[in-house]
Amino acid sequence: MSVSGSRHLQALLGSLGRLARNPLATALTLLVIGLALSLPTALRLFVTNVQAATGGFTSAVDLSVYLKTDVALAKAQQLARSARERPDVAEVTLIPAEQALQEFRRYSGFGAALDALQDNPLPHVLHVQPRSDAQSPAAVESLKRYLAAWPEVDLVQVDTEWVRRFNAILDVVRRLLIIAATLLGAGVLAVIGNTIRLEILNRRAEIEVTKLVGGSNAFVRRPFLYTGVLYGFGGAVLALAIVEAAVLVLGQSIATLAQLYGSRFALQGPSLDDTGILLGAGVVLGWLGAWISAARHLRSIEPRA
């Protein structure tokens, strides 16, 4: 190993040793950093998971075409075929009135009340999905007008409004995530900076003597930078553990919830990217906080005889 490499290793081990000698203080600092980093991580997971859970429909635009109740099933099938032939239509699903009624009976809990009805009150419904290149508001509007013009059609509903609202909400959460990450990042910076400041003051005599025998500023600063990086990295690992534990606790109940909605969605933990970003952010924040603190306070310590 080169001389400068072994210097760094020595500084790193020295910092580790010092942290290990004060386990309680170190643990408390790590906990504060870990909690501060876990919040934005959890928010980020929330956003990615909501996107994953709703991925099937957040981007898609659906038209629900309600036929008049007196339209026969054969006619409905014929209408579905002719809708499918349009170039701007990707897919058409026919939900016959009978099937809709059964589903409604099964999921709504109004089974007994429905039995009291003599006729099926539900119409046949066509779910029309436009091609991806025909999903602009204007194209969807013209498709809607075309379908509504059929005499058998009672009502055409475009399910875009709530998708837009949903995406807007998600955007708000994403912005909240940025704000939270910025504020808590600054908090981590302050915590590490202050911890390093206290350590510099504690080791004032040692710093003075080191400068006296010819230690450069870089030499004196190095162990504090390593301490900051270790705090940042340790805090990030702790944040990761906190989030993973939360995913573990929530996972089962969320899977059950998703099943009730007929979805096979399962809560995703932090991806490899998330983990990398979190650990990287911890290291960078730790280094930066220590550097700012060291630059401020080491300069003022000069040896005097």
Binding site: Q10, L212, V213, S216, E302
Partner: protein
């Protein structure tokens, strides 16, 4: 080795510690700086080690004008000077070995050489075998010798000591001074500030007498009259 040319030093509190002091010390000399406490002896040493900068005048150490030295070059400059303090400035929470090794670590000496050189320095001051002890576990005289070992471990060409015997009884003081002379014997320039006239007499080296920030005498082998009448 060292040249003071009309050097004055005024501290921020307004006290003038040195007034137009000039003297020269050659390589390999051993010189006592003497005078009452507060006379300016420590200021001379601080100016040599660049712990202070002169208000006026020029201080040259090893051919370099210290006034033109940039701050980032100060650490490398200090590594050329071994400094011994009255309160020895050892790190209380580190064993003797770590204290003595500090100048080597700071200078980037390879690890395999550090142990050898630390033991050699401790051997020179008669403390071999005490590497793992803490400074507090040693006597005052031994602590001072650890301080000396630290000052010489990186073999600096210049050794300066500020009242190194201030806390020692006369026997220990002489012993420490003999140690300094041994370093002079191997070519090190040694400057010792002390108000201990007994020691100065005993050694008969060149002595520069400072009173009220000015040089009152500079003589070899015999003490100037200002001291003698006191």
């Amino acid at each position: 080795m060292i040249l003071f040319d009309r050097v004055s030093k005024r501290y921020p509190n307004g006290r003038e510690a040195l007034t137009s002091v000039s003297f020269q010390i050659h390589t390999g000399e051993m010189v006592f700086l003497t005078g009452r406490s507060g006379a300016g002896k420590s200021t001379v040493l601080k100016l040599i080690a660049l712990l202070e900068r002169p208000t006026r005048g020029i201080v040259t150490v090893g051919g370099r004008n210290t006034g033109s030295l940039r701050p980032r070059h100060v650490p490398a400059f200090r590594r050329q000077i071994g400094v011994v303090f009255q309160d020895h400035k050892l790190l209380a929470d580190r064993p003797v070995f770590d204290n003595v090794a500090l100048p080597l670590v700071v200078a980037g000496t390879p690890f395999r050489d550090i142990g050898k050189r630390v033991r050699a320095a401790l051997d020179q001051v008669g403390l071999l075998g005490r590497e793992r002890m803490l400074p507090m576990e040693l006597s005052v005289g031994e602590q001072q010798r650890v301080g000396i070992a630290r000052a010489v471990v990186s073999k600096p060409p210049l050794l300066i000591a500020d009242e190194p015997t201030g806390n020692l009884d006369p026997d220990l003081a002489l012993e420490v001074m003999r140690l300094f002379r041994r370093f002079q014997d191997v070519g090190v320039t040694v400057i010792v500030a002390t108000h201990d006239l007994h020691v100065v007499h005993e050694f008969g080296q060149r002595a520069i007498v400072i009173e009220n920030g000015q040089i009152q005498g500079d003589a070899n082998d015999h003490l100037p009259s200002v001291i003698a009448v006191r």
